[in-house]
């Protein structure tokens, strides 16, 4: 199952930030991780990922680094301080959303409410 485009547009950047939380990743790595970790729910057209990365970079949430030491030049993305703050904020929004959906019976009830 794939999310509607509008819903994906809202959740996609947060998902990318979350994937970068443990450490830096390059484009293809992000695509596969997103697909794998969300069981395909958050899989996006790969052409959508790169504009999303550039937008996050323009907002200062992530920073890119070109690594030319490998077999081919790769661009790695990592979370910035600003990006971490944004991720925390988005996480809370997601938790609130999930809680609200649960209250409406649209999602399974969780143990606690939003922080």
């Amino acid at each position: 199952m794939k999310l509607e485009r509008e819903l994906m547009r809202g959740i996609g950047p947060t998902a990318v930030l979350k994937l970068l939380e443990p450490g830096e990743k390059y484009g293809y790595e992000l695509v596969t991780a997103l697909d794998r970790q969300s069981d395909g729910v958050l899989a996006m057209g790969q052409s959508t990922l790169y504009p999303m990365l550039y937008n996050l970079e323009a907002k200062g949430f992530i920073k890119a680094r070109l690594d030319a030491t490998g077999p081919r030049p790769r661009k790695y993305y990592r979370l910035t301080g600003k990006g971490k703050t944004q991720l925390r904020r988005s996480t809370k929004h997601c938790e609130s959303l999930v809680h609200a959906l649960a209250q409406l019976g649209l999602a399974p009830k969780t143990a606690g409410g939003p922080a």
Partner: protein, 637 residues
Amino acid sequence: MTTTAEEPTTPSLLQRLRHTPLRHLILGRVSAALDWQRPITSSGLPDPVQSALLTLTRKTRLWRSERVAVATELTAHFTDGLDAGQSPDQLLEAFGPLQPAAKLIRRARKRNRPLWWKTQRVCFWLILSLIIFYLAALLYLLQGEPNPSVDYIAKLNAPAHAVPEADRAWPIYREAFIASNFHQLEIDPLLHEHDNGRLELITMHDPGWPDAVAFLQQHQPLLDALRNAGTKPGLGLIVGLDHDITGPDRLALFGPDRDPPLPAADPATLDTAQRLQANYSIAVLLPHLGDLRKSARLLAVDMRRAVTQEDADRWLANHTALLGFARHAREHEILINDLVAHSILSIAVRETAQTLHHQPAFFRDADLPQLAHQYADLIPNYQNPRLRGESDFMLDTLQRIYDDHGRVTYHGLRFVQGLDGFTTLTPNATANERLVQEAFLVAGLPLASVLMANRDEMQREHQRLMAMMLNDSHEPLWEVLRKASGVDEQIETWQQNHLTRIRYWPLLILMPALDHAARRVKQTTALLDALTVALALEAYQRDHAQYPDTLALLVPRYYPNTPLDHSTGQPLRYQLINDKPLLYGLGLNQQDNQGTLTEQAHSRWPRLPDQGDWILYPPPPPFDHTKHPDNTPLVNF
């Protein structure tokens, strides 16, 4: 990893140069760092993928350095995918359509561009928006046209129309002017040139006096007619533009050599510019003012001749005529007419004062109160400048600048430029010069509409200045002199600021001289006042065989109240010099210099001098440089 069928070719030096940034070239490096196709074509990716990436990167229409970054990253993406075991078709399908991808990438990459580029872009759109707005405003403003609806020339002529036929002097003047070819009549025999080059009316002591007498005798019918005209209550002359003055009026006012008038154009055939020029009250011709002044000089010399002939009746008749000329000049309520009237009045005052000073016995006892009453009666009418005509000029101008909605118009701007002498749109301007000037004028219209006050504001400011001027004009001269002119200060303030100079442009063209001229008009009152005091002194002297010790002794039998110095508001200064009275005010410095007259004051008489006392009676004799070689003050004349 999948390989391509053919190996990439090595680019030529020329191609590498073409893709090398300038800063690399300066450093001696041919880096080809801007060759965005190179990362794709040298990647070894299958042809369909390379082709898709080339298309996608090209369609982003980004800077070459940005395309290099995108191409490098996407090449890595597809290579990683192939390495992960996906086929080219699977990868391309997973990637999605190229056109939207290129659009999204372009949009996102542009957000990463440097601040200077974003600023430049904002400026570009801002300027473009302004240009579009400006052009739209220009189109809107070009629709407006002034629509003059009030005929101010008719208002100007209303007093002349109101004069009954029998009371009109103009028919008499007209006949006399035509009969004597007055316009070409030179009055040189009536003038005497002094050593300093100054021309004044001839006196009986000057060598040319016999010629002057002969001249007067030769033109006796003209003098009789002028005397007759001067007794009429009104002038009754309808003034107008060149094409309005026709027939005998034209012959009388301009002489036989004047070109015939061009017929008035049919209003329906006039373009807007011509329509605005037509019937403009400021362009009204007033040639009769010069004729009245010339007539006054003729009769003034005849008054001197009457003194030599001891003909008091003719002297008095001429004097009455001079006062009539001044009255006729004032019929049209314009400041220039008032100034000419005051100039004629000054001639009458000078003749009366000189005769009274040098030959007091010429006047019969009954003549003194008659003259005193004549002058006293004039003061209420002449003491305040009349500003209605000037106000109408401004309103007439404004109705030719703005449209009915109060907007500045293109034709209105051209009209003001013509008034200001600002434009060089003259017949001598070449077609190209005219075109450039017109272009500037059109282009400047929206700016002018923002910078120039609208019609309501312009009228409001005009009315405010006029009210201030009117308020000043009702105060005595000494009060007006004591404080700075509010109108002058306002005009000065506007002049000093570039924005207000444009904002009130028409006001600044038409208003500045008014206040100064209005003050000059008020000075005549002081002169008339002093002359009535001098006549009272002469009457006192005849009753008591001596002049009074103080002017207070004239009150109330010979003069109604203590005579005032109009320059200070204090009592008028009075001295007896060689047993003859001298009346003066302290002038602008408010110091008593015992009636001292400087050369500067002499040349400006009877106007209030900048320095020294303000001699009001008697008029000073011609300044004699041989007696005052060092420009020493003239005392006790």
